[in-house]
């Protein structure tokens, strides 16, 4: 449910009010930029996509349905889709870790919890290094879940996938991270 301030903002955006647009940019700009720059390889690309995202938000504001998701989630969905579309169109060659042999899948939940759960600064650095080897979609997924603390339902709305698929992907990504850490350590 949208708050009164958010409702007023949406009304202003529907009337194409420059003040409402400015408020919108100030309020959600940082969040959108982080989401975009997380997925894209360079800041220049992120700036281009960032502008496209807001342009799309302003032009398609009438399509927003507050019953489906919050305004922030709707904006995140547009930002995610714009970034993924950009990545697919540009076809930048980036090397990511792929669990071809299914070795990550064979890791037990105890092993994963031991690596990711017990507080250890060294492991944190290892995880940071491992995150760089994840594909952008997966990195974005765990960021939305762990950092932005979005619910599975909201993540499912942003990525346009079922909640169960998101849950499976999260499990797989955790195991993949553990596998990468093991590979780095060995």
């Amino acid at each position: 449910m949208a708050t009164d301030i958010e409702a007023n903002l949406i009304e202003g955006l529907k009337e194409h009010s420059p003040m409402a647009q400015q408020t919108m940019v100030e309020r959600y700009g940082r969040h959108v930029f982080n989401q975009v720059v997380r997925l894209l390889p360079s800041v220049e690309d992120a700036e281009e996509v960032y502008q496209d995202v807001f342009l799309k938000v302003f032009l398609n504001i009438n399509m927003y349905n507050e019953e489906k998701a919050s305004f922030k989630t709707w904006v995140s969905r547009i930002a995610y889709n714009e970034s993924i579309t950009w990545l697919r169109h540009k076809r930048r060659e980036v090397i990511y870790f792929e669990d071809q042999g299914g070795e990550a899948e064979r890791l037990s939940e105890t092993e994963v919890e031991a690596t990711l759960g017990h507080p250890d600064p060294e492991t944190v650095q290892l995880i940071r290094a491992a995150l760089k080897h994840l594909p952008p979609e997966e990195r974005s997924l765990i960021t939305m879940f762990y950092y932005e603390e979005m619910s599975l339902k909201d993540i499912a709305y942003v990525t346009d996938s079922p909640s169960t698929t998101i849950a499976s992907k999260l499990f797989r990504t955790r195991k993949k991270l553990c596998k990468i850490i093991q590979m780095i350590q060995s």
Partner: protein, 232 residues
């Protein structure tokens, strides 16, 4: 159940959460002028879109009006007329000419039209012109004078008839000079392909006259030779 378990991972995976937080903090900062540039671009795009909407709003009634006008023009334009009905573009004058003709469609009027043509007038006047030549031969051959007189009387009657028929034609000829068409040329009229009874009568008379003159000439020649022989 799996989803419920997943929801508890926030608290469990502390290392992962810290690592992601650090990664997020290490992200490049947003350029200070990015929002200004973006707002400028938004303004441009909005203006472009508004202009496009305005253009389409202004253009569509004009396009619709043009289509309607074209349709009306197509439906109201009369079909190309055939030469017979005189409605074709090239024959508006012919229609005017034919109107008085249709008013007087009686056989007499048709005969009048045929006689009124200049070529036929010449033919009609020909016996009149030849009449003096016939009269010059009168003193030479006195016995032939009586039939010739009868012939000239008949001829005069024909000429009178022609003159009578010509009289109503006179005003018509005046207008014909203005509205003359191909159909008005006598030789192109199908009704003029055959000789009229009057023309046939005229031609017979001319033939008779010519025969008589030939006989007169032969007699004169024989008379002259006889006189010459008598002198010798």
């Amino acid at each position: 159940m799996k989803e419920d378990y997943i929801e508890t991972l926030h608290q469990k995976d502390t290392n992962l959460r810290d690592a992601i937080r650090l990664e997020e903090e290490a992200l490049p900062p947003m350029p200070a002028d990015l929002n200004a540039r973006m707002m400028q671009r938004v303004e441009e795009e909005m203006a472009k879109k508004a202009a496009k909407r305005r253009r389409s709003r202004v253009l569509w009634p004009m396009v619709a009006a043009a289509c309607v006008a074209a349709l009306i023009a197509v439906f109201l334009t009369p079909p190309k007329g055939t030469p017979e009905d005189g409605m074709s573009m090239g024959k508006p004058v012919a229609a005017k000419v034919e109107k008085p003709k249709t008013d007087a469609e009686t056989p007499q009027a048709e005969a009048l039209q045929k006689v009124s043509t200049p070529q036929e007038e010449k033919v009609a006047e020909q016996p009149k012109a030849k009449h003096p030549t016939a009269t010059t031969a009168q003193p030479l051959l006195a016995q032939e004078a009586v039939p010739e007189k009868a012939a000239t009387e008949e001829e005069a009657a024909v000429i009178e008839l022609v003159a009578e028929q010509k009289a109503p034609e006179a005003p018509r000829n005046e207008t014909a000079t203005v509205i003359l068409t191909e159909r008005d040329i006598p030789i192109t009229r199908p009704e003029n392909y055959k000789y009229t009874p009057e023309e046939i009568a005229l031609m017979k008379k001319q033939a008779n006259e010519a025969y008589l003159k030939w006989v007169e000439l032969e007699l004169e020649i024989s008379k002259y030779t006889l006189e010459k022989m008598a002198q010798q």
